[in-house]
Amino acid sequence: MTHDVGSVPALRADRLGKRYGHAWGLRDCTFEVPPGSIVGLVGPNGAGKTTLLALTVGLLAPTEGQVAVFGERSRAQDAATLARVSYLAQDHPLYRGFTVADMFRFGRSLNPSWDAGLAQARMAALGIPLKRKVKSLSGGQQAQVALTMALAKRAPMLLLDEPVASLDPLARLDFMRDVLAASAESGLTVLIASHVIAELERLCDWLLVLNGGRLQLAGAVDDLLAGHAVLTVPRDAANRSLPGRVIERADSDRHAAVLVAAAPGLVATAAARPGWAAGPAGFEQLVLAYLRRAPVAAVHPGPVGTSGTAMAS
């Protein structure tokens, strides 16, 4: 599958919002993701991760704004939207009384682009007999059957909602290895909602952080890491004397460790001051810092975006 990397983003949200009754599940969400990315979607429970996925596959209709997959707007009740996106829901639901072969026939009946060869080859490689009932399979095997169904749909975008939450560590590794292999093989763009930050660090080259229904951080992982630094400064250094935006600050007896979003040049200049030092920000540290602070209303499209208020802690 080839897509024009230069022009059309694989996924693009434009002021996307979804209201449930009076409460907003997701609001003012704007970002772009290039084709072929493995995107980590992080946020606490209720942050809007599943809402974003459901809007993308068209299980929900947005209250405002829009989300587009490869330039085509996602719509609810629309076969074309459904055909563009494979969705693997949380706890990988399957019909427990079906055999694996039944599940695949279900997939074939409901998807014109179904790849029966891929489904059978994967089951053969995994040693899962097609005649086995779903309920007699282990959790890891069920997840693999569900992943296989999502892959055999042959959609260019794959959404995974907490795909490994119920799996043991070995099954997790196998599952994620297969996701990566499939992505590499067919140029699939993958969006993984997960609480396991360490896993996302290993897999993802793009990151979206949601909190309280608001997008807190979005961008390529390398750019985000390059655009943040940890400064060690004297405790009496005021936040306004620090470069860029202060994301998180931890004060100890004499020093303060401050995670800042700032261009590398500014960080280098600051680190040259006497008593100041700078180090790189870690992936997990960065994600946790953005999750820990109160949700910010405005979107930060990049690490050093100028919109939005700097949050001084």
């Binding site: 629309d78 076969a79 459904l82």
Partner: protein, 297 residues
């Protein structure tokens, strides 16, 4: 979609087939037994020659023999089958998908959910209607001899002949379907659907029974003791026409004023009762489709 519907409902389809086989075996035995009792009294020739006027004693004796314990299962069929079959088939169609989370799988394939539901409903309703028609056919045949001499305007035959049974099965199905969508729980929806079915059942029973919507009045000449002996439950009825349901008889000199439901009103009454059941079914199913369609907003 056809295969998917079959795969998800085949256990229910086989259960319905099983119920039908039991009903058919019972109906066959009952029908043959009724026919032998009917023939042993020479009722066929008597009805043909006199139109029932000369066979009052034979009719009464036949009716006494065949309308006892042997027909009790018919009453169970007419009361239990529609809400139970309806609940068993209707409740899981949406309730189980929502309860087990498989809706996320079903509705994220390339078929939009409203089309998914409409195709499924079309096939399942066709199956239920075929089941209702088949049970009705067997029961109508089995009850045939009694229909020749008696009244099919009241239960039990009224509720399993004509269109009544089929419409009430669809009604039970629609109510349980909607309950499944609202409760997101299969067992809860079965129970709710089963009890909700009481509402259309009571409404249709009142409309076609005690309310006597289609009552006609006629006067019959009589003489002497025949006038004082005339009652609502004579055989054949005082109207002289087998199958009429006499509701009241009053004396006026040498005449009887008779209120009755003519036997020919069987079909109008069937359409009233079927229409009531279908109105509930269409409302419930339509609401379910509409709710599912707009759940995305």
């Amino acid at each position: 979609m056809i295969w998917v519907t079959w795969r998800q409902h085949r256990v229910q389809a086989l259960a319905m087939l099983g119920v039908f086989v039991i009903v058919a075996v019972y109906g066959l035995a009952l029908g043959l037994w009724m026919r032998s009792a009917f023939d042993s009294r020479g009722l066929g020739p008597c009805l043909t020659s006199s139109g029932g006027a000369d066979c009052g004693a034979a009719i009464s004796s036949f009716a006494r023999q065949v309308t006892g314990g042997a027909t009790l299962p018919l009453t169970l069929v007419m009361f239990a089958i529609p809400p139970i079959i309806g609940a068993v088939v209707g409740a899981p169609l949406l309730g189980q998908e929502l309860e087990r989370g498989t809706w996320q799988l079903a509705w994220s394939q390339t078929v939009p959910r409203t089309r998914w539901l409409i195709v499924k409903l079309g096939l399942v309703i066709a199956g239920l209607a075929a089941f209702g028609a088949a049970v009705t056919g067997v029961m109508t045949w089995a009850w045939g001899p009694l229909d020749l001499i008696g009244i099919r305007l009241t239960p039990p035959p009224f509720n399993f002949e004509g269109v009544s049974l089929t419409c009430s099965v669809l009604c039970g199905f629609g109510l349980a379907l909607l309950a499944g969508l609202l409760l997101r729980n299969t067992i809860g929806a079965m129970v709710a659907g089963y009890f909700a079915y009481d509402i259309p059942f009571v409404v249709s029973t009142l409309a076609t029974g005690p309310l006597h919507l289609l009552t006609a009045t006629t006067t019959v000449n009589c003489a002497g003791t025949a006038c004082s002996a005339a009652s609502t439950n004579s055989t054949p009825p005082v109207t002289g026409h087998l199958g009429d349901m006499v509701t009241s008889v009053t004396h006026a000199g040498q005449q009887l004023v008779v209120s009755y439901v003519p036997a020919s009103d069987f079909w109008p009454l069937q359409f009233i009762t079927g229409g009531i059941y279908l109105a509930f079914a269409v409302t419930a199913i339509g609401t379910a489709v509409w709710l599912l369609h707009r759940r995305t907003t």
